[in-house]
Amino acid sequence: MTVSAAPLLSARGVRKTYRSGATETVALRGIDFDLGAGELVMVMGPSGNGKTTLLNCLSGLDDIDSGTVEIDGLDIHALSDRERTEHRARRMGFIFQAFNLIPVFSAVENVELPLLLAGESDRNIRARAEALLARVGLGHRRDHRPAELSGGEQQRVAIARALVTRPAIVWADEPTGNLDSHTAQDILDVLHEVNADGQALVIVTHDRDIGASGQRLVEVHDGRVDYDGPPRP
């Protein structure tokens, strides 16, 4: 996969501190990060060292204390909450360890939800959602609710949901953390296929094998990027 020269996302000096009463925990200590279109980046590091915070701050899910995060040339933290939300709906997809499907929606309803949120007026929303479900191997489970699906199936639905709007960036936070190794590999294969289609993918993981399967590895330690380069052998 080739990566274009101009970064899709460019973060500079991103700092984030959590405050709880008198206690302050510095999660990110001035991080610089670039992401090119279609890039596959693995983010690794020990627990509690800022990986998820980095993902949240770069995607605009969480506010930052200082620094800038530009996506498509827009400083997303300078946008209003409404603008940032609309931007997320158009340009980003999310996959989480806990799947986070809407339990009262069926599989296909979960997948079509981002299309509705993006204001798609296409009458074929349902067809597009069904097609994507079929692509992740769940065409036959479309009317099942999350509680009726296995963990692997739920994660596939979550992937389909993250991809259905064809976002420029897909953020995945420990997408295989709740799955057995066989299912995890299946999920990873699907994510590689996604990346092969040209969508940038940022995956936060603990798993060294998964970390080694990307084009680029970023290691976060104590709120700083310790390593940013090709996967270590």
Partner: protein, 937 residues
Amino acid sequence: MTGLATRLAARNIARRPVEAALVVIGSLLGTAVIVAAFVVGDSFDGSIRNIARAELGPIDEIVRVRASAAELGRRVGQLEDRLAHTSIAHVDGLLPAQIAGVVLSNGRRGDAAIAEPNACVMEVEPAAVRRFGRDPDLTGFATIRHQPDPGTLYVRDDVARRLEVAPGDSITIHAYGTSSTLRVARVVPRVGVAGHCAALVPSGTILELDAAPRAPTDAALAPSGVVFVSNDGGLEDSARYSADVVRQLRRATRDFDAEVQSAKATTLDNAERTGGNLRTLFSAIGGFSVTAGVLLLVNLVVMLAEERKRELGVFRAIGLRRAMVWRSFCIEGLVYAVSSATAGLGVGIAVGQLVVAGANRILRDPDDPFTLSLTLRTPSLLAAAAIGAGISALTVAATSGRLARFNVIAAIRDLPDPPRPRRRRWATVVAVFGAVMGIGAFAIGWATATGWLLLGGPVVTMWSLNVVLARRFSTRLVVTTAATLVVGWCLAVFPLFPDQMSRPSIGVFVEMGLILVAAAVVHATHLDRIWARLVRHLTTRGRGVSVHLALSSPLARRFRTGLLLAMFSLVIFTMAFLGAFASILAGSATSGARDISAGFDLIVDSNPSNPLSAATLRARPEVAEAVGLVRGSAEFTNRYQPEPTRWAMTGVDDSFIRSGAPTLLARARGFAGDREVFRELTRDPNAIVVDAEFLQSGSAPASEQPRVGDRVAARNRAGERRTFRVIGVLRSDYAFHGSLVGATTARSFLAPAAVENRLFVRLKPHEPATMVARRLSATFVDNGVSARTFPALVRDRLSETTGFIGLMQAYLGFGLVIGLAGLGVVMVRAVRERRRQIGMLRAMGTSVRTIRAAFLLESTFITAQAILIGLSLGLLTAWLVVVRSGAFSDAAVEFRVPWATVLALAIIPLLAALAATVVPAARAARIRPAVALRDVG
């Protein structure tokens, strides 16, 4: 291990104190409703009992003789002598007195003229009063040493207030066609013997009034000589000897033509009965609110359990026994129950106070000093709080017991519980048993005219059969079919079984409301496919994300939505029913007036001691005809009332039916029309027409009604007995005729207490009836005249009922508060429960507006359904029960949609529900996605 359960419970309460407080607030309302019902009952009981203190004191029985004033002294002396020389057990005092019914006026003219149209004055010896009974303080004469001086009187404080007089002012006494003006020497408190009559007058006053010359046609109710009797014991416990003492007094005065009244026992019985009835009525109506409270509590416990499911699963996995989980829930629930009962006690007292204030406004009568005052009785309050706490604790225990049976793995993995294996044989046995019991209940209900069994039996059978049928057919089909049949049955039962369902008790009404609403809610919660189609239609057009989000949760969580819906629908159903009932009653004023008017324009009542004669009215230019009715009362017994019960008797002659007759509900065979029935009264001295409520008081079963052909035994004041045959039953008796006989019969049987003090008046053409009525009342103030048009009379009679219905609606409004508080609590908890979902939705790009709108729409969706269910069923039931079946009214009633109530019930709950959801919706919208997604469950 109990320590662990306690610690778990304590930790859960302390962890979220605000939500714990919300649960307490949500569940305290049920206790408050019960406490308020008890407070209302006790207040009526206490206030009526207060009459015993205020107007009787040591007086337990009254022995009365009637005679002209000239004879009265001698007669009373003989009576007292007889009683004093007869050994009567349990009597500790006798007090002779003379009493005359009078009109009192303040003697002013124009707008300042105020009259007390139905008062009495008494002559009594103060020294004798102080000796009467055991406690002079109870007589009200502790400080009254002498009779009023000649030319003066002592006036009771409440009468002085109403007449706006003070010591030194004048009061005019009107009686027996004459007047006498006395100066107020003193205002005395309304206590005991001093409170028995409006004024104490000097000896000789009654004789002077009665001795005044008058026309021979001006027959008035003669003054009465009384001997007050005091029983052994204190103020209230002396009444326990009353039945025995009355028997002895009757024996002793057999040849005296005397009437013996059990004054205090009757007052206290009335207090107990009225208090008990109102306690039952308010408790039953409040039952809807209490049920709503129980449903709210179940909902809250289910939500709490679901929120903690994963945590509890982990506890179970590491060795916590199921019983411990249940115990922990129970302890937590018990803390909530006790806290809510304590707080509910305070709120209930406040609500009771409001109801008492409302009732006082409704019962306010310028001629009646009765005032309802708040009475708080510790045993009642404790009992009500204990019932509230008990209901809460039982609800929590039962719900927790069910919830504690979760699957550990499913709980840890946040999956739905796998279906439990069905115990087929047991289920079949229980279903068959239930079906048979239901059929049995129906049969017993039909045979014995027991409404609640007749109504409930088939419902139990249908739901029991569901268990078996659901194995063969789809559950949805079986459940919705059963719900449809149940609704149909409830709506058909009154028209189908008019005899068995006549005069339904309030319990039947509550039962029907609960069944109807439950069935309708089952239906509503199974409409998910229709809603899903609608949502689909909206969302495929690229809009309505908030609608989709709003409807998905309530449709998916059928049980919880059902609880909320039922909670709201129940209250709205009852309010709509009561509103329609009140509207129908108010609308029946026209037909009611037609029923009683017999073609006349005005009804003119006057004081029996100073009656207005028909001749006087006939002489007026605006009057075309005035017909007199003879009035009095006798003691009756009949088929269903074995206790001698005093009831009004009215005598009519042919002139009464010259151009019409009151409408009859039923008449004996052989009469071509209602008028012929009344004509027969003037010919047959043993024929009687009675009102539809005849003798329905005391121990008479409410389901019994008089029938044509009934034999009625009557006993007059002299002890003479006569048997009457019922030849007609009045459709409406707003005029309180009680029973109607020929005028000659009434005069002879009720003498000397039969007086022609009611006139039916026909006006000349084009005379404005209302204005003439007002003019007559003002002109004949000395006669204590109350002249009214028939519609005005009916409206006055109905206003108390409709007022009480309004009070009930306001009381039920409290149930609505429960519903709204519940909705608020449920939405707050829903925000917490869906925190991660909201976080994910926000991450995907759902706007703050959409999240907020989704929550507001969700509560609107539930409330709107509840309004629809409650309103439609409430109005439909009112139409069927009140109009079609005639179970509540024998009068021809016309269904009227109470538009004001309908609009209020459609708009207020909806707005209030939105208001209750605003805060949770705002909280949901404020959730930061990154923070919500960090939560692990």
